[in-house]
Amino acid sequence: MAPPQGMGREIGQGIMNQMAQASLSTELIYAFVIIIISLMIYFGTRELYNLTNHKGIKYFRLSFLFFAIAYFFRSIMKAIIVFVDPQTLREIMFNVGNAFNPLILFLFMYFSSMAIFFLLYSVMIKKWNGKINFVMFFNAIAVFIALTTILTNSAKFILLIHFLLFLFVAFIALMAYKESKNKKKTHGLYFAYIFLFIFWLLNILDILIPNAFQSFQLLIYLISLGLFLMILYKVLRKTA
């Protein structure tokens, strides 16, 4: 005997809800681990910074503090995405009347952009000699990126901005590597940084275009985690 039509729909919805909750649990665990790793890097390097006041160490630490904050907002965004119907998602994300969601999106974009900029700045500060205040410049770009993300309703435009940002970051990282005195030792580091930037971009796209990388999501999470763990290992080796 076939089950009544209403019951089939209820079972389907139940499975969808369970899948959504499983996805959210994975996301929360992933974000939690990244936040812990980032904070371990931040607090693990505190003593070295207090002893030296070295600017490179300062921006390296700040970068991971900002990564932790960005991932915190990312997990809030993901929770919203999982519990809201994708069709009404854009409406909610960009609804001016509902100030909460654009504010989270703004903070997420701002802190994530600043995290990348500070990581870049930590390796470039000795080459740029600290003559120009790049922090103000980076803040201005990060605010611009965050504002355009919440004000424009075009995924293509946001993608273009992030692609340009990636090209800029990759170019600067390549320049830093070329000027590096100890290429053999830092080869792996710059390789890891470039991958960190690529996977950070994928993480942003995963937020801006929900379900875009559904089949590769776990792989993206695992590689991102691997990169953060590798940096933590390098930090602990030198600070423990």
Binding site: L48, G56, K234, T239
Partner: protein, 89 residues
């Protein structure tokens, strides 16, 4: 001779004081640190500002001492240099 960097000069100044029973007058410290008076002065002010050394007055005699933080700097010096090299900072 390879030019010393800032971190190395700070470590050298702290080690000189430490090796002199942690109390040294300013004139022999300038001589032993191998720096010009103006360069030494800028490093010395930085060491005082960061709390790595303190000036003490004992029976009218002024001497420089390494603080606990300064001692920590000497101990952690190889870690600091290793970290900076590892992350190309």
């Amino acid at each position: 001779m390879v030019k010393r960097n800032k971190l190395e000069i700070i470590k050298d100044i702290l080690t000189i004081i430490k090796n002199n029973r942690n109390s040294l007058k300013i004139t022999p410290l300038i001589r032993k640190s191998n720096l010009s008076t103006s360069r030494f002065s800028s490093y010395f002010n930085e060491l005082l500002r960061k709390g790595l050394v303190i000036e003490t007055h004992n029976e009218g005699r002024k001497a420089i001492r390494v603080t606990e933080k300064g001692q920590k700097y000497i101990e952690k010096y190889s870690n600091i240099v290793g970290f900076i090299e590892e992350f190309d900072l």
